[in-house]
Amino acid sequence: MTVAGIVNEIHAIIAQKKPKGTSEYAILARAIDSFIPQSKARVDEEKAREIVLARGALARKRLEKAEGGAIAAEDVADLLGLSRQGVDYLRKTERIVAWRVGTGKWHYPLWQFHAGRVRRGISECLKDLPSDDPWSHMIFFLSPRESLSGRRPLDLILSGDVSNAIAVARRHQRHGAY
């Protein structure tokens, strides 16, 4: 049986037997964990790599759906009163957060918009982040941080504490001392 065949069977089983209110990703996460040996010490480097990447694929789905999910470029254009090209320009100049899977369409997380505008602090943080990887941006805004006592940079932006959010962006993933 091919990998694609196994995936199709998994799809069919999940579609048929998924308990109500349970996400398919939760099932897959459990499935991945069930394959991990009890003793972590027995996992070699290659196996460890496969596991962390598999978990990462599920984590990506969680980020995609976080805080109301994401919308397409056309919807962003409507929301901001811009042309489609205008939205592309904002994305290319890293003034808004956008992600895509593979070479597909760009998606724009809803949490960065408010009252027909890009929230204050989003562009400023993006400017100071050391990476231009869209998933790195998503992780930055949506991950609780120890140095913020468990709050996320997005929480700071939502509460209007933009200067602190920018300070976090300047420290983000730099070898300093948090």
């Binding site: 972590k40 480097e45 962390v52 978990r55 980020l63 120890e146 070898h175 300093g176």
Partner: protein
């Protein structure tokens, strides 16, 4: 000597002694030798990974400081925790593109240099010194207040135990973050020989209770894990001008207190001794994914 007015600077939540440098200079510092090999993670885009920061965005560097600060670790794993660990308290995620963008930089220290050992009981000792000095200052302040109002100072002296140390010396300050969750999720010994899983049984283990409540971790959380960087930056500034001339600070990682970091001050002697000897992609580090797996990290 010490001011007879309140030794605390008003207007900050933790309150900072105004004569900090003076009394730090009076303290005999516990010094240790800076190791011959240090590790730093740097983005590949930077031509020179040895960066003496004066940006004021990290724990010990500030624009007004006499020297810049080079942040290093004792191991690659420690450096990874320093760079990525702040965001690993719930879902521990890192982008594979970000991992790809970093290099491991091996730094050699080519002469004997002494740094302040701010780990374990040494930190405790510094904390004790701090409390003693601040206690004396506070008592003097009360005595002065008593004299000023022509009253007896006996009550004030009797109540001196009520003098509160600054919040950054509290065992469990408000807002203090715990590294417990990060440690406990991993279930095997990490490369430092420290067993994160052993903390799960901490309530049944005296040694671990001491660790959490009275020992290194707690003190580290008090001072070296405060998010009031103005305080730690002021400490670093005072240490830079200390008569014993330490060239940096040896301190515990917040993410795993068994791991050690070194903040090196940019004195001329340190700058000439520190040499970059090797740099290679982080992804080429042979134990990277095993380490990320142990810490339950998800790589996107």
């Amino acid at each position: 000597m010490f001011r007879t007015q309140s030794p605390w600077r008003a207007g900050t939540s933790d309150m900072v002694p105004t004569d900090l440098a003076r009394w730090i200079h009076a303290v005999r510092l516990p010094l240790v030798r800076l190791p011959e090999k240090l590790i730093r993670l740097s983005q590949r885009k930077f031509a020179d990974p040895i960066h003496w920061s004066q940006l004021g965005i990290h724990r010990f560097d500030s624009p007004g400081a006499r020297y810049g600060v080079l942040y290093t670790s004792n191991r690659v794993e420690t450096a990874v925790l320093e760079v990525f660990g702040d965001q690993w308290i719930k879902d521990r995620q890192v982008s594979s593109i970000d991992l790809k963008s970093y290099e491991v930089c091996e730094i050699e220290v080519r002469r004997s240099l002494q740094v302040l050992d701010a780990t374990g009981k040494n930190l405790n000792r510094l904390g004790w010194c701090t409390k003693s000095v601040t206690g004396i200052a506070a008592l003097r302040s009360k005595r002065a207040t008593g004299k000023a109002r022509r009253g007896s100072i006996s009550e004030l002296i009797r109540d001196r135990g009520a003098t509160q140390p600054p919040a950054h010396f509290h065992r469990n300050p408000t807002g203090c973050v715990s590294f417990g969750p990060l440690l406990c999720r991993s279930s095997v010994e990490d490369h430092s020989g420290y067993s994160p899983s052993s903390l799960r049984a901490s309530c049944q283990n005296t040694q671990q209770r001491r660790y959490t409540r009275h020992g290194l971790g707690a003190l580290d959380a008090n001072f070296f894990a405060t998010t009031e960087y103005a305080i730690t930056q002021e400490w670093a500034n005072a240490l830079m001008t200390h008569p014993q001339a330490p060239v940096g600070i040896r301190y515990n990682s917040r993410k795993n207190p068994r791991r050690i970091n070194y903040a090196v001050f940019g004195l001329a002697v340190a700058k000439s001794a520190v040499q970059l000897v090797k740099r290679y992609p982080l992804l080429d580090y042979s134990r990277l994914f095993g380490f990320l797996f142990q810490y339950d990290v998800e790589v996107l």
